[in-house]
């Protein structure tokens, strides 16, 4: 058993205990400051990193490419860094107040919360901080001395947990942000490596900054047969070139990653990389590069790609047209009783590049019924030295042809240009025919020169086709398969043309129109009394009488059934000829001939139509009527076709883009114009105006009007010209 301490000894012991407790409290206070300080630093760092990443994303999304090109990379790096540093500093300032608020008393209070000394420690620290004398014999000293050790120990353990909890969130956030940054960098590196893998091996290796393609020169080398010299153009993004021309693009800067071509009208899509690759060749040339593509008949888009930049060249292909001929003499078809004088032949010839030769082709068909002979005579042959316009004259001695009654002379002018492509065929004029009348056709009235009716012309042509087919069939065994197929297909084309002419005759009789605004065709939604079944025409069940009545006012006309049969037989014959099956085609052709003969022999109906019914409004005439004040009905425009709808969307997108990035808008419009050249030439012309306006536009120049006009042209909207009374607006 120990001896009891004296009061002095007890005081000394209490003082040491109090000093030790104060030291422990100070230690814990520093530890708390450190922990919370680290936490504030981590939180500020996290906020800075987050704001930097957010700014990067915002800048890449909001800034247009042209603006990004203008700003230097340093600016793009420094601005987000400064902003994120500011955010971090603000975080530190705002959060450090908590750290600064830590004091010995608050530390003691925190220890009390974890140690449970009944606030004796807080009272002790407050007294100690206040410099009050410590009564070592007091209960307070005893309590602090006995309980503070355990409380301090518990506080240290709590401090460890606090540190872990305080660090965990910010550390996790930072780790996540770093992971995102690493992932982004990895994706960039991988894409760059893939891009580098697709480059030409001669391209310089190593990291390279993204630089847009510089100016290029475009050289157009026309086809050899045109004998025209090459043209070299400075930096341009659209050229017009004759079909077959070689378009060479020469760049002096670094080689692009790839140069791809895309035909805008032949169905080669974006994904058809094989087709695109075949169209363009790319090679290095000195310190620069060289690409070449061959112009086609339609528009072609060539894109040079490097990194995220692309440069566009539109090649508008111009087809070499066959020579165009106009047979001016004789001016019309005729029926002659006798041949008394030589016949003058005259034609005008034009070619877009240059003529090589021209002549008159005269075909004489003789015979009747199934016995026919055909002779071909060529007169007035002439060669040219590349003239573009010429006049062809000759005289045909009809007497020398020994024409007999019923003979028909077909005349046309043909011309060739220098284009070596055989499949284009030759240019030919319309065919005139002169028929020698048979004695049975004479009557009391003199035979007047008059063209044979359409049905007769069809008959003659069908006879000629039949004879040619029979002749080809006779030579079939001696002919090469390719030649036979080629000859048969030519006949099939002629048969198809004739079939269409006969079809027109059927429909003319249906509607009483000849190429008028309201032209009819099979499948146009009208009830013609016929319907198309597998390419042929058949009387529809709705109108089995062969009569047609459209509305109340339309005339009632008859369907020419024999011509309908001829049409269908011609369809069968044409199909057989397409397959080079001349033997199968002949019976159908004979059937067509018989049907046409029946149509000739059929009774002719001359339909004048029903006079309009007019009912006079007596009250209105006498000004005694009433105005109903009913306004005229306005009908909404029908929806645009799908193609036009897509084009309208692209036009509107380009209009929006023109405000922020005129260069990209011009490229979009140029592609749209090239696509529209084939099927919507008026829209293409309107787009040309838009492009010219955009090119000439300076800052603040209004380009809305050309866009509006282009949209109206696309929608087929007709605007009545504004009169002097109009309020005006965009014309």
């Amino acid at each position: 058993m120990s001896a009891p301490k004296t009061p002095d000894a007890h005081r000394a012991s209490a003082t040491r205990t109090a000093d030790a407790v104060m030291q422990d409290v100070s230690t814990i206070e520093r530890a708390l400051r450190t922990t919370l300080g680290f936490r504030v630093a981590l939180q500020a760092t996290g906020a800075g990193v987050a704001s930097w990443m957010l700014l990067q994303q915002l800048l890449s999304a909001a800034l247009p490419p042209s603006m990004r090109d203008v700003l230097s990379p340093g600016v793009l790096l420094v601005v987000p860094l400064m902003a994120s540093a500011t955010v971090a500093a603000l975080c530190v300032v705002m959060l450090w107040r908590n750290v600064g608020a830590i004091s010995p008393v608050r530390t003691a209070l925190w220890i009390e919360e974890h140690g449970g000394t009944g606030f004796a420690l807080v009272t002790w620290v407050e007294q100690h901080r206040a410099g009050q004398a410590v009564d070592a014999a007091s209960t307070l000293a005893e309590v602090v001395g006995s309980a503070s050790a355990g409380a301090l120990q518990a506080s240290r353990e709590a401090l460890g947990r606090l540190a872990r909890r305080a660090m965990l969130g910010p550390v996790l956030f930072l780790v996540g942000a770093i992971a995102v940054l690493v992932a982004q960098s990895a994706v960039t590196v991988i894409s760059q490596r893939r891009s580098a893998a697709g480059r030409d091996t001669s391209a310089p290796s190593g990291p390279r900054a993204a630089v847009p393609l510089g100016p290029w020169r475009v050289r157009i080398v026309p086809p050899t047969y045109t004998k025209r010299s090459a043209i070299e153009l400075p930096d341009t993004n659209a050229v017009r070139a004759l079909s077959g021309s070689r378009i060479e693009i020469v760049g002096r800067d670094a080689m692009p990653d790839s140069v791809v071509g895309r035909a805008l009208s032949d169905g080669v899509g974006e994904g058809d990389s094989a087709a695109r690759g075949r169209m363009v060749t790319l090679a290095a040339q000195g310190s620069g590069w060289h690409a070449a593509v061959t112009a086609t008949d339609g528009p072609l888009e060539v894109r040079a790609l490097r990194d995220r930049f692309a440069k566009l060249l539109l090649v508008e292909g111009i087809a070499d047209s066959v020579p165009q001929l106009l047979l001016t003499t004789p001016a019309r078809d005729s029926v002659l009783r006798t041949v008394t004088a030589p016949l003058g032949l005259e034609a005008t010839v034009h070619d877009d590049l240059g003529l090589v030769s021209a002549e008159f082709e005269v075909v004489v068909s003789s015979g009747e019924g199934e016995q026919f002979t055909v002779r071909t005579v060529r007169v007035g042959a002439r060669t040219f030295a590349g003239e573009r316009d010429a006049r062809l004259r000759s005289v045909l001695d009809l007497a020398a042809l020994a024409l007999g009654p019923g003979d028909v002379v077909h005349m046309r002018a043909v011309a060739r240009d220098a284009n070596p492509q055989q499949s284009r065929g030759v240019g030919a004029s319309d065919t005139r025919s002169i028929r020698i009348a048979r004695p049975s056709e004479y009557d009391s009235v003199a035979v007047e020169p008059a063209p044979p009716p359409d049905v007769d012309k069809s008959l003659l042509s069908q006879r000629m086709l039949l004879m040619l087919t029979e002749r080809l069939d006779a030579r079939r065994a001696r002919l090469d398969a390719v030649v036979l197929r080629s000859e048969s297909r030519k006949l099939a084309i002629d048969q198809s043309r004739l079939r269409q002419a006969v079809g027109d005759a059927v429909f003319q009789r249906l509607t009483g129109e000849q190429g008028g605004e309201h032209a009819h065709s099979v499948g146009d939604g009208h009830d013609h009394g016929v319907e198309a079944i597998g390419g042929k025409l058949a009387l529809s069940g709705v109108n089995s009488q062969g009569m047609l009545e459209e509305g109340d006012d339309a005339p009632v006309v008859a369907i020419n059934t024999p011509l309908l049969e001829a049409y269908n037989a011609m369809w069968d014959a044409g199909r057989a000829l397409e397959q080079a099956d001349t033997r199968s085609a002949i019976p159908f052709m004979r059937r067509a001939l018989e049907s046409i003969e029946r149509a000739r022999a059929a009774s002719r109906l001359y339909l004048r139509g029903r006079p309009p019914t007019v009912i006079v409004d007596i009250a209105k005439v006498r000004l005694a009527g009433k105005d109903t004040s009913a306004p005229a009905q306005r009908e909404a425009r029908s929806a645009l076709p799908t193609t036009s709808l897509g084009r309208e969307r692209r036009l509107l997108a380009a209009a929006s883009l023109a405000v922020t990035d005129a260069r990209a808008a011009r490229d979009s419009l140029a592609v749209l114009r090239a696509e529209a050249l084939a099927d919507a030439p008026l829209f293409a012309v309107a787009l040309t105006s838009v492009l010219e306006s955009l090119t000439a536009a300076r800052e603040g120049t209004e380009v809305t009007a050309p866009f509006v006009r282009a949209r109206r042209v696309l929608g087929g909207i007709q605007r009545v010209p504004s009169s002097s009374w109009s309020r005006g607006g965009t014309p």
């Binding site: 006079p611 309009p612 019914t613 007019v614 009912i615 006079v616 409004d617 007596i618 005439v621 006498r622």
Partner: protein
Amino acid sequence: MVARRYAVSTAGKLSPPHAVGVPGAGAPFVFATAQYDSGDWDSAPMVPANVIDAVARYTSLAVAPQGVVVPLSSEACFQYPLLFLTGHLPVRFSAREVDVLRRYLRRGGLLFVDDHNHDVDGAFHKTVREEIARVAGALVALPKTHPLYRAFFVFDNGPPTTSHEMNGWGDNLVHEHLDAVLFGTRLAVLYSNKDYSSEWSYHPDNKRFLSVDNTKFAVNLVVYALTR
């Protein structure tokens, strides 16, 4: 031409002066086009509407808003006081048509014949004059003082000239007078080779574009047929 309007006293309620024309009191006037077997009787389909429009415009006569086509071989002709006959092609009346027309004229009907060809000795001109002579007698020149020219509007210079005459179409002549067959003082057949069929064959709605209405003479014809 001095045009002066004469009042029609019994607006729309003319009593029938003859056996032909008005089936009942108060019945409206109906413009009738004669349909004959030969030729093209309907070569001027807009004339009826135009005449009806003129009658409605200038008079208070009760008038049917739409004309009728009546076969010349039918006794239905007797219901109409005025028959309009025109065409381009040769005219040959059948025996039935001759009989009906002859009775129609004797009963008081008025046949207005117009040569749509407007040419010299044309097919219609020659044949229809022969047929009229066969049915009613020879045509004679109608003097400019005839009451027809004062029946409603006043035409001091006789029949109004048509644009076809002025423009040198057809026979390139301006015909000074019309021909007629008179039964006593009554006009039975009126023959014109001034081509009123072309002059009046347009939609009445287009009349507003004319500075001078060229259908006024038709009003005289109708009023004369109803009032003489």
